[in-house]
Symmetry: C2
Subunit: 323 residues, 2 copies
Amino acid sequence: MQVQSGVPKFGIGMDCSVTPLRHGGLCLVQTTDFFFPLVDDPYMQGQIACANVLSDLYAMGVTECDNMLMLLGVPKAFTDKERDAIMPLIMRGFKDKAAEAETSVTGGQTVINPWCLVGGVATCVCLPTDIVSPNNAVVGDVLVLTKPLGTQIAVNAHQWLDQPEKWKKIQSVVSPEEVERAYQEAMYNMSLLNRTAASLMRKFNAHGSTDVTGFGILGHAKNLVENQKNEVRFVIHNLPVIANMQNVAKTCGNQFQLLQGYSAETSGGLLIAFPREQAAAFCREMEKSTGHTAWIIGIVDRGSRTAQIIEKPRVIAVTTKMN
Amino acid sequence: MQVQSGVPKFGIGMDCSVTPLRHGGLCLVQTTDFFFPLVDDPYMQGQIACANVLSDLYAMGVTECDNMLMLLGVPKAFTDKERDAIMPLIMRGFKDKAAEAETSVTGGQTVINPWCLVGGVATCVCLPTDIVSPNNAVVGDVLVLTKPLGTQIAVNAHQWLDQPEKWKKIQSVVSPEEVERAYQEAMYNMSLLNRTAASLMRKFNAHGSTDVTGFGILGHAKNLVENQKNEVRFVIHNLPVIANMQNVAKTCGNQFQLLQGYSAETSGGLLIAFPREQAAAFCREMEKSTGHTAWIIGIVDRGSRTAQIIEKPRVIAVTTKMN
């Protein structure tokens, strides 16, 4: 969870902490995140961890990260050989992704820990005007999402390929090939930077945004709407979901709460409120710049700062053309 | 360990990462540290963790911390009751110490972990001239230390009070009361901020400094001397040690390597190279400002960037008048 105390003098600092500085009207925008690996590939895990840390800056429209620190826990149970094979790959993935984001990793901390830990700190020193104030949604705006949902389900289903008891539960609705494809799709999406989205949301005058992670699409939508200045509510009609993961979620009963909006995501997309015309332009330019689809998933209506998903949302099955 | 890559344009950034910023000739000075609790008192542990993180800034003469983030791991085995009793005390200790340092904690990350974890991130945005370049020691300088050694020995000896087998090993050289006193002394010293020392080392023209932590006094002296511009060596004659801990260390054979200079410290003091006259003035003013002694422990001689402790160093038994 993001611990947040001390109200900044501007904005609401939802995804990052924002601290006014003593120099030149500048402010310090900072975020940290660390967690336990969820994919098998150490290099991908490093990339995902880095993209995930940076995502909080991007959610505030901040596109330039001045510096990153890396946080690592090396599993106690690793042999020297395992450690020397795996940890450098995680670190390389993290550093390569930082380089892609045009920033660098200049320090950090490594400890021995029972579980593997990977994460970091991202920092930007900028002018307050470089931050997209996340609390200006108005009635008539629409909501855009920049990555598909269902990463947790794909990761779990992939683990179940090796657990016959669990696999039995879902084998009637999905093939091993489909699960493998969904897992690749999830890894690919989790490792994507939200940086272009952050840059374009400034260009197209976003009224507010957040990134979708552990609380699921509806959890984060609620958090965003609760912090709006105007009396609005968010209504979500469409749920873009990694192909076939809707069926897995359904078959698993209430475990994931995908259609209810609470399935956790790791390094998910940005959820952004835009003026209606700007939203379409944003989606077009996202497609053009990144080759990836962004979806209009809902509307901003009059209301008392609540968010909901309609009873029968349209599920959009997403298959990305991966590079 | 402090991972350090990417050479800053000034100084050597030994204890912190130093990153030039895009704005106003400023730079970003950052450090992070997290570790596992070593004392029984959660409130003290929070204070020690905070003082320890800030110590890296202070080691570079940076006295103003603009912002802190807190990193926590909540033990998986905690009951709800234990968690709710203990974690808020750790957090309060951390925040109170941050307030004492005139900074604040504006965010962070908490995870569930098999072991308890506590640490943080400290950040300062300042002018390059606010940093004491740590690589200017010259022949004729002397070395000053601002906190006594022996914290790890005191913490261990205190744990052994409850372990008859281990206690038997040291009971002939130390009484339970002496161990209790040393433990209190260690906690007190570990929770002390090196901020006044940082401020005074600027005033008295320090030529270089580092903070003493996991590698022990000689480990950190070696690291500091290796990074000097001039061909110097450090020779340490005096070792200020928490009272009675020298005897415990001796009785334990090679376990701690106290007199060899490798006994790990947590949140130790600053090791500073000063011009000789300035060193005496620094120590006098430290005593006057903080009520605590700083010791001249060695000299800077001509040499090939090595550090050593003389064969029979003078051990100074330290008993602080605690507030």
